[in-house]
Symmetry: C2
Subunit: 253 residues, 2 copies
């Protein structure tokens, strides 16, 4: 009789794609159980009654959530830089006068052309700068390669534009606000936040007054917790640690 | 009978390319008059007796300076991301075991593939992280578009890697050190630093005890000086202001 909510900073899938993924894992899940940042970005733009076009640095999942809700935004995909890119930028590049927001999520086709377009829109004082999340790396289980997350794209755009983004994902308050809105009877003293990253999952859980559990199957482990204990970073230290999520069953016995 | 030194954070040209540019502007210039960051990066790697291969995020000018000095580094140019990029990253991407430095300059072909490769090399504790400069924008004279400079690339790489870069250009000390080394008899009280950016040119001049002049033909003007005066940023306020460099002639009369 426990309620479960899936809360992820990943912006590359829509809710329906997550439901499909759960099916493949033989788990039944409903749309209202998902709080992913592509969905939250749509909710945020609705909440602030956003009007105007969106310049998107992002992926198909984010594009699907935004356009399904009626927002008009540029399509994801490659945008290669032309050979004479500086002349092109200054003399030929077309900017849409109706763009009122630059929305940034993970984009594997991130490029200098996208930096130029995004920074040019952000030069406009009335253009919003909204980002799904600012995670630095995506856990991939490899000791030699690094899979980036959205944070590096967000920092590039913040640096070139000199602007501070509105970040929606964990540990920022908006995604928690969405959950509270949809689950008004949620009792923090009877709620557990389980996650694999301390500066997003555990920090958000602490801020919301929840019991927190770190699982060691992402990019962090018992050693990372010890570092945070040594550094006195109280808000990042989970109440419990599990090497893997499956250990929760034994813990509950 | 005045000595002139051209000091630029731009890393996209080699010294010989700058000499060509001066010729086109009907100015005669010698290699020893140029301190550009592609040249300084080569000097820095020589100074620290760097051994190993270089992973380059940069341009042909930086590549030319590094390889002419005998350093082995990856070639500049596009490095598009493959369709199944995550599987490719984790299972197939080849990393050179001899890479001991990631060198970052301006790269118009900056891409997610370069972020992934650079971040993977920077995961190695013995790999250096050297950047030509951290300027945010390149002046282009347009009110609507923004031409990025190296700073956004540097911040993306610093964020994904969790590492702090060694920055060589203005206002950091290395480029000034290069000038002092080559001009040991330089007398600060008789030297003027002329530049178009306060957080690089003027700050470097102040730190070196030089007289400073801001010219208004870049991205800053009298209004920007007033902002720094209001904010009490003393190190960023030039001694003199000229709307354009040509006004220097009248000033000297």
């Amino acid at each position: 009789g426990k309620k479960i909510r899936f809360v992820t900073n990943n912006s590359t899938s829509s809710r329906s794609q997550y439901i499909e993924k759960c099916k493949r894992l033989h788990m039944e899940a409903k749309p209202e159980e998902f709080f992913n940042t592509s969905y939250c970005t749509m909710l945020y733009l609705k909440k602030i009654h956003f009007k105007g076009n969106i310049y998107l640095i992002g992926n198909t999942g984010l594009y699907a959530e935004l356009t399904a809700a009626g927002f008009k935004c540029t399509e994801p995909g490659p945008d290669p830089i032309p050979p004479h890119w500086r002349e092109w930028t200054v003399q030929e590049m077309k900017l849409d006068p109706e763009v009122k927001a630059v929305v940034v999520g993970f984009d594997e086709h991130f490029s200098m052309t996208k930096i130029i377009r995004g920074a040019s829109y952000l030069r406009r004082k009335d253009c919003l700068f909204v980002c799904t999340n600012s995670d630095e790396q995506h856990p991939c289980g490899s000791a030699s390669v690094v899979v980036p997350e959205t944070g590096c794209i967000v920092q590039a755009m913040a640096t070139v534009s000199g602007r501070t983004p509105t970040v929606l994902g964990k540990p920022e308050p908006f995604i928690a606000e969405c959950i509270r809105y949809q689950c008004p009877d949620l009792d923090p003293s009877r709620t557990v936040m389980i996650g694999d990253r301390m500066n997003t999952d555990i920090l958000m859980g602490k801020r919301a007054g929840l019991t927190t559990i770190l699982v060691g199957t992402g990019i962090e482990n018992l050693e990372s917790i010890r570092h945070n204990v040594q550094d006195g970073k109280k808000d990042l230290i989970p109440d419990y640690y599990l090497p893997k999520l499956g250990d929760l069953l034994d813990m509950l016995k």
